[in-house]
Symmetry: D2
Subunit: 288 residues, 4 copies
């Protein structure tokens, strides 16, 4: 399902308890909200409850601020982490890229064809080579080289750009620099990476070379939120593709590009539609 | 998710309306019912609502009959089709087979290892060759040959056996006879078939030969409810496997067996866990 | 495997016979040719032999014309259909598109990033909307509207453009017009289409609507050579993607786009690397 | 393709060189051998050549011993590792199991239905629970408990049984004991294991628990030859299945069973048909 116009998305997670679905859905129904989609999940082992509702907002008269205010009381009573998004307001997503173009090109294409529900205020790269492609799409391109002797200055420059463009989420579209902890923390749960292996196989650098050397029969890619622990953040989406003994390392790279862009674009879509709920190092993904 | 002990499953479909999730979940919560799983789907195009709840029954004091009685009023008010199952009572499923063993062997194995939540009161076949395998599992085997000149008599005999064994659902595990309309109707939504092609490709007989002749690059299997219209019933589950130019027709048959048994066992599992809701010629399958 | 530089590809099909592999590989070895890849297949049922050799040409002193001349005798003796390609000469592929951009954009991207081993002399479309995208890649764009009252004139114009650009192969990248029989015949085995269903399911128009109405659990795409019989030509490649009851018809279209472009780009790649051998209505695809 | 009757399989690996395909295929053709299947692969990086030929033996008059003798000279000249198998003689495969039945049951079923081309002279287990299932198939069952204080004695007993039954290959069908190095060495390239994860993810014990804790979105299984380095041997086959946040650890175990048995039975089939060539820690698998 896609996100229809004129609707709100309400996302909740809290300790499990009898009556949570009833409480939330009654709250919505009593205010005239019609459920377009409603998903929930209880982690019985952890005793934790997750819920996502897409609400047709046209019959809700008190507006999103009014709804937020009234919901606060319910939320507090059940110790909920929650947010309510107006889907008419598109999220502002800044893309970070390096030299490789495939993931960036794929996201730009999907955005340009109207498939991704977001704004792309700018692209930041530590290389110049993708400028023309980005600018053809009418998107500002910022070149922020990363000085190995003064990375702090480079990332400060980047943070300024992020702030200026009002970045709500960040996508590392094969951005090949390690993100400083402060940025990881500031954008926790909103900073998406694509790793070019089926994690936890082949963490770190050169996963295709490692996969080639190990002689695996499938290679994969992993879309995850970035945390301080490299390649260890919560996994959003993964997929694989079959390879054979006749696949060279270059073939793995080529086949891997297709999996990377597919996995990243699915992961980003789930994120933009508020389908991904993080708890600890795992995700709930309401994608069906 | 599997079905835990001591729980009820409540399955509902009805015209869509504001407040249905709230009404049903409030009804359950007010009687102490804790939701183990709760899924719903609104077909916006058809204006139809589907819901499945797995309810921890241990805190519900009025018992399943009491719960049914009290729910009737709510159900009537919203024109619901519904049922409430006590999961401690296993469904009675009769398997029909012919000469081919792979689907039957797979279901018997899964049942024997405790993976399928059902009773298998007996197996009926129009051939004798699978008797020993069935009886090793401690399940009665009935040989009901189908007389081409008097099919009616054969199916009457079969219906007697089904009745005697209290069959609630029937699985055609590569049973190679056409089921008479009366039986299709009597077991509507409870009579499961596995077709050895990716429907609607290659309806009718000899799908592997047809697939071989057409030179397709994938072959598949389809698990569906049987209706009077051969190979046209609501699809529960499908899957495919890759083949190549070097696959002979016998290879297709061999590879197809694995897809058939995988698709049938998944479809049967969804059915037994009340995850499949039929409307018209389509299904809603709450399997995630 | 990709196609390395400085090599020839020799493709053969002929009636089967003892000693064909020996005869061909000896011919190559005696002239100093080193095999980079060598695949063969015997269709035992049809008694037909297929072979593809990629030959390192650097040690072959007599040149490609010399090699062709000497091979003719062997070929004639065994009634071979065959050709020998110099891989340093890239095939000239003309792309035809209509309004939808996804397949065209994908091929352009892969070509631009050096992944597809071919020349793209021009793009022809019966719409104007994709001009800017094509021209950004430095490729001429020809707008040839199809006049419903005079299709013959439109296709004559198109044939002129094809000829002027020396088109060796044609790709219908979601080109939504029926190709006239004369063009099908002229480009037999070199005219590639992507059909937006898992053929032979849902032939003809609106396959996604048909798939939605039938309630299938997987949708697919088929890359095939175009023949006069619409959607009946030899299949090169197919793939599928899972859908659910919650997938709207628009979701099928969106998910289908990804399968279409993946299947088309794989099929085109196989074609460009001379991996696809057609016999009757079936293909041998040496892709492993 | 399966293995037809009355044929030999010739398997070769050696340093690469111009003319190897010609030399081998000419050798076969000159003796009247018709190629049913012929595959080869050159690892350009390592400079190593791999070949597998299935030869229709009916027109070869000098018999398998004569053929072996005559081929020796050619083999020596090219430093070939090679063997020639008479496919009328089925390999003798001993199965080792512990408590879990799914892989064993699957192999027994495929063997019983004629799908696996081998003899199963016996099953050895360190538990008693699978005896009845094995014996129903008419196969001797040996209970060899592994004494934690004297493993050497247990494995000596096992080696005696293997010898008595003329074991050519061994399959660890979820056998949960570590194989001593002497046995690994003696059956190098003939001792097959199924690991219940997508290696190199989750080596060692409890991979499903580790996969659950990491929150992966796919789980897998790996069929590999056993070497002294646990879980590090050459990979024959791998596959994965999708899981979600709603999959409990028990669901992973259940879904994993299906992947394990599918991957093991494919790997075993490739092994029995001499499709797997090992070099270093990697395999060439001629399965297309």
């Amino acid at each position: 399902m896609s996100i229809p116009d004129n609707c709100y998305t309400l996302v909740i997670s809290c300790p499990d308890q009898v009556g949570l679905v009833a409480a939330v859905s009654s709250f919505i129904a009593e205010r005239g909200g019609c459920l377009v989609e409603s998903s929930n999940h209880t982690d019985l082992q952890q005793g934790w409850f997750f819920m996502r509702n897409v609400i047709d907002a046209r019959a809700i008269t008190l507006g999103i601020e009014g709804l937020r205010e009234e919901f606060s009381a319910l939320a507090e009573a059940h110790q909920m982490s929650w947010y309510l998004r107006d889907n008419n307001e598109k999220q502002r997503v800044v893309l970070l890229a390096s030299h490789a173009s495939h993931c960036l090109a794929d996201i730009l294409y999907r955005w340009h064809s109207g498939e991704l529900h977001c704004e792309l205020p700018c692209v930041i790269s530590n290389h110049e080579n993708l400028r023309s492609m980005v600018e053809w799409h009418g998107i500002p391109f910022h070149h922020v080289p990363v000085d190995p002797d003064n990375k702090a200055a480079s990332f400060e420059q980047m943070e300024n750009i992020l702030e200026r463009h009002g970045a709500e989420s960040i996508v590392l579209a094969r951005y090949m620099q390690i993100i400083p902890p402060s940025l990881c923390e500031r954008y926790a749960g909103r900073l998406i990476n694509i790793h070019h292996s089926f994690l936890p196989s082949f963490v770190g650098a050169n996963p295709y070379q490692k996969a080639y050397d190990r002689g695996v029969k499938l290679i994969g890619a992993t879309c995850h939120y970035v945390t301080e622990d490299l390649d260890e953040g919560p996994i959003i989406e993964q997929d694989v593709v079959r390879v054979t003994h006749s696949s060279t390392k270059d073939d793995l790279v080529r086949l891997g590009r297709d999996v990377e862009r597919a996995v990243l674009s699915r992961g980003l879509r789930y994120h933009l539609e508020d389908r991904v709920l993080v708890r600890g190092n795992k995700t709930v993904v309401f994608n069906a």
